[in-house]
């Protein structure tokens, strides 16, 4: 008799396991030149999905489904990522797509989603071009590139004495050119004089010429839109060339632990922006709040999550929320539900505009005493901005 019970239990169990999983597919950069950021998305997707599964999974109509993730490594190769997304849809039969890292990848991969009419939610690309194509199946959890420096410029205007001249440097890729374009308009509106406006090659390692020009044009503030390696070079070479602007801000690197680790004391004074900080005021259905999330994340992966990770988690949560709202796994119904998303999460309020992009203010941050400090958000200063920056020896 007990044996029979075990049998029945086993049968029931296997039937439950057979209840079809909802599968998400993603192709991200685990190796190759952009792997150091790409891997955040792997960690974020897996972390979010484990947590949601532990809470029972996603409810479709009346039935609970577990979520499965099929994740591939695109080796930082755009062409391979396009093939992998196709493969995920056609061979692995995944239900929905999570995005890769970086705008140029999203630009190519979103076409696959659009062709197949399967929604993709991505937290890796912010370039305005992604949303300018009229695609219906792409949603993004990073705010618009053109506005990255918006809050920074606003904060600069409230300083006393306010900086007057600005240098804008940017790398020559889709995302950073978008940032520069937006920033120029913002600077004009803020009546700041753009004294130096220079583009440089992605992966440039020698900034001595640009730094010498910054020094000789004596600008007050420097805004840099680039990649992490360039920002690291820029800061180290600023120090060794004794270039000491009153303020500098970078689109990448500043929020991440890797950055502070590589620079040590020299990281102090660097400003940047993030759409997200692990604050306990950001409530979340699965993780409690953003602070708890950050703690659990660090315990698991050994590094502090930054906005990349949070945007990745937000992408997963947006899907789960939309699937439950649609009560179906039909890609079109889920797509429509995504478009109507409106819920609070550890990342902030998730709602997409009619082009599919989220709108979140960028919080201005600065590294002070080896810590990331929130300086300016919601149109007001939270902490004092170190301005003007002290000479290099005293940071």
């Amino acid at each position: 008799m007990p044996r029979f019970l075990v049998f029945v239990a086993a049968l029931a169990f296997s039937a439950a396991a057979l209840a079809q999983d909802v599968t998400f597919g993603a192709s991200v950069q685990l190796t190759g030149p952009v792997a150091n950021t790409g891997r955040y998305y792997k960690d974020a997707y897996e972390f979010a999905i484990d947590k949601i599964n532990a809470a029972g999974g996603v409810k479709v109509g009346s039935q609970q489904h577990k979520i499965a993730l099929k994740l591939l490594d695109n080796q930082s190769d755009v062409n391979l990522s396009v093939r992998q997304y196709t493969q995920l849809l056609t061979q692995e039969k995944v239900n929905f797509l999570l995005g890769p890292f970086a705008s140029n990848f999203v630009l190519a991969d979103s076409s696959i989603a659009e062709k197949a009419s399967v929604p993709m939610v991505q937290g890796g690309g912010a370039s305005d071009e992604i949303y300018a194509r009229g695609y219906k199946y792409i949603f993004g959890t990073l705010p618009a590139a053109s506005d990255y420096f918006g809050s920074t410029i606003e904060a600069l205007g409230k300083l006393n004495p306010a900086p007057k001249t600005v240098a804008l440097l940017y790398a020559d890729d889709s995302f950073d050119v978008s940032v520069a374009k937006g920033t120029r308009d913002l600077l004009k509106k803020a009546k700041l004089q753009l004294a130096l406006d220079e583009k440089y090659s992605t992966n440039a390692s020698d900034f001595s010429v640009l730094l010498s020009r910054i020094k000789s044009s004596n600008v007050d503030a420097v805004l840099v839109a680039g990649h992490e390696t360039e920002v690291l070079n820029f800061i180290r070479q600023s120090k060794s060339l004794g270039v000491n602007p009153k303020f500098y801000s970078f689109t990448v690197g500043v929020p991440s632990a890797d950055f502070r680790h590589a620079l040590g004391k020299d990281a102090n004074g660097a400003s940047g922006m993030t759409a997200w900080l692990p604050s306990s005021t950001l409530k979340d259905k699965w993780f409690g709040d953003a602070e708890q999330f950050a703690k659990a994340y660090k315990a698991k992966f050994g590094y502090d999550p930054d906005y990349h990770a949070a945007a990745g988690v937000a992408a997963v949560e947006a899907f789960v929320n939309a699937i439950e709202a649609a009560g179906s796994l039909d890609p079109n119904k889920v797509r429509d539900a995504l478009a109507k998303s409106n819920f609070e999460s550890l990342y902030g309020k998730i709602a997409f505009n009619d082009k599919g992009q989220i709108s979140l203010p960028q919080i201005v941050i600065q590294i002070q005493n080896d810590q990331v400090v929130e300086v300016y958000s919601d149109n007001k200063f939270e902490h004092k901005l170190v301005y003007p920056l002290p000479p290099w020896g005293q940071r």
Binding site: D73, D77, N79, Q87, T90
Partner: protein, 345 residues
């Protein structure tokens, strides 16, 4: 030399053999017919693939066919003429930009873009060939490599090409069309190479590869021949780039002027057998399959594995698969050992 085609489908030409065997053997003719029929059947089967295969296979097919075309294009300048070009990715990029600029900036149809890309690539090859084809060996390789870097940087500053942001093309939801186009282009490229292998022109190219001074002495206009080969190579590479641009819907300078892609075409051609008609195609098929399977199954270590495959292939089969098929038949082990023995120090 009309009517004197040898067994050139798989075997590298040696001028001496060609000249010394004026009469075709009956066995050779029969074998040639068999190869021809097999190739015909394979092409027909490939053309029908979208109707019995699934869409993964079609996607994979587009990618393999384009790569095979690139390898075949490289084969003309690298395999037959003996000039290791690293500048073919430039032709690819120009072809892609031809289509993208025509379609996005001028709202012209795709086929006009293809012609624009073709013209761009071929004219560029002609202009450039005159200058860099004077260089030989590693020096030619490096000059063309430098060119690829330069073109990336220049196009990144060209407004009409969308600068660094790149261009976003309209979306066409018909992968079958791309597949058939890519297949057609590969067949055309392969037929051209086959013609080349049996023509006076091709013979001139081979004589340049084997001994350039000798060829010049024998009356081959080496500069003209090399430049024409470069242009022919550019034509197929550029067309492949054009198809790619419309298929992928988004191109930027770093993506299409990719030196890595150029390395890939060389590896595929050399792996299959440079200077043979079908070698590059077979090489592209085998290597793409390996790397595709690896990329999905073992994911992260896939590219390292690819490096290992290259090293092993170069050590044990330095003349490509074509040579393995021709000579390893009796005792494969001995063939591989012999290869190492002849090439080691």
């Amino acid at each position: 030399m009309p009517g004197k085609e040898g067994l050139t489908l798989f075997f590298p030409e040696k001028m001496a053999e060609r000249v010394l065997t004026p009469v075709e053997t009956r066995a050779g003719s029969a074998k040639r017919t068999i190869v021809f029929v097999i190739v015909l059947i394979v092409v027909a089967a490939l053309a029908a693939l979208p109707w019995y295969g699934n869409s993964v296979l079609v996607q994979f097919g587009i990618s393999v066919l384009l790569l095979a075309t690139l390898a075949q294009g490289w084969n003309i300048i690298g395999g037959y003429t003996g000039y290791a070009s690293f500048g073919n990715s430039v032709f690819y990029g120009l072809g892609a930009y031809g289509v993208a600029i025509a379609m996005v900036q001028f709202k012209l149809p795709f086929w006009i873009g293809m012609i624009a890309g073709l013209v761009l690539a071929v004219v560029f090859a002609a202009a450039l060939g005159a200058a860099v084809l004077r260089l030989r060996g590693h020096y030619f390789a490096i000059a063309t490599l430098a060119l690829a870097f330069i073109m990336t940087a220049i196009v990144s500053n060209v407004e009409i090409a969308g600068s660094n942001i790149g261009l976003v093309l309209p979306l066409l939801k018909s992968d079958v069309l791309f597949y058939e186009l890519a297949l057609g282009l590969l067949v055309l490229a392969t037929m051209t190479v086959w013609w080349l292998a049996n023509s006076r022109f091709g013979l001139g190219l081979i004589s340049i590869r084997e001994n350039e001074e000798g060829a010049a002495v024998m009356g081959v206009n080496t500069t003209l021949y090399k430049t024409l080969a470069f242009m022919l190579s550019a034509a197929f590479t550029g067309l492949a780039g054009g198809i790619y641009a419309y298929y992928i819907t988004f191109i930027d300078p770093v993506g299409v002027f990719d030196v890595g892609l150029n390395v890939k075409m060389i590896i595929m051609a050399v792996f299959g057998g440079p200077g043979t008609v079908l070698g590059p195609v077979v090489g592209a098929l085998i290597l793409s399959t390996i790397s595709e399977v690896l990329a999905t199954k073992v994911t992260s270590i896939a590219s390292m594995f690819f490096g290992i495959v290259i090293v092993i292939a170069v050590v044990f089969m330095p003349r490509g698969i074509a040579d393995v098929l021709r000579r390893a038949g009796r005792s494969p082990l001995r063939y591989f050992v012999d290869n190492v023995r002849t090439h080691r120090l």
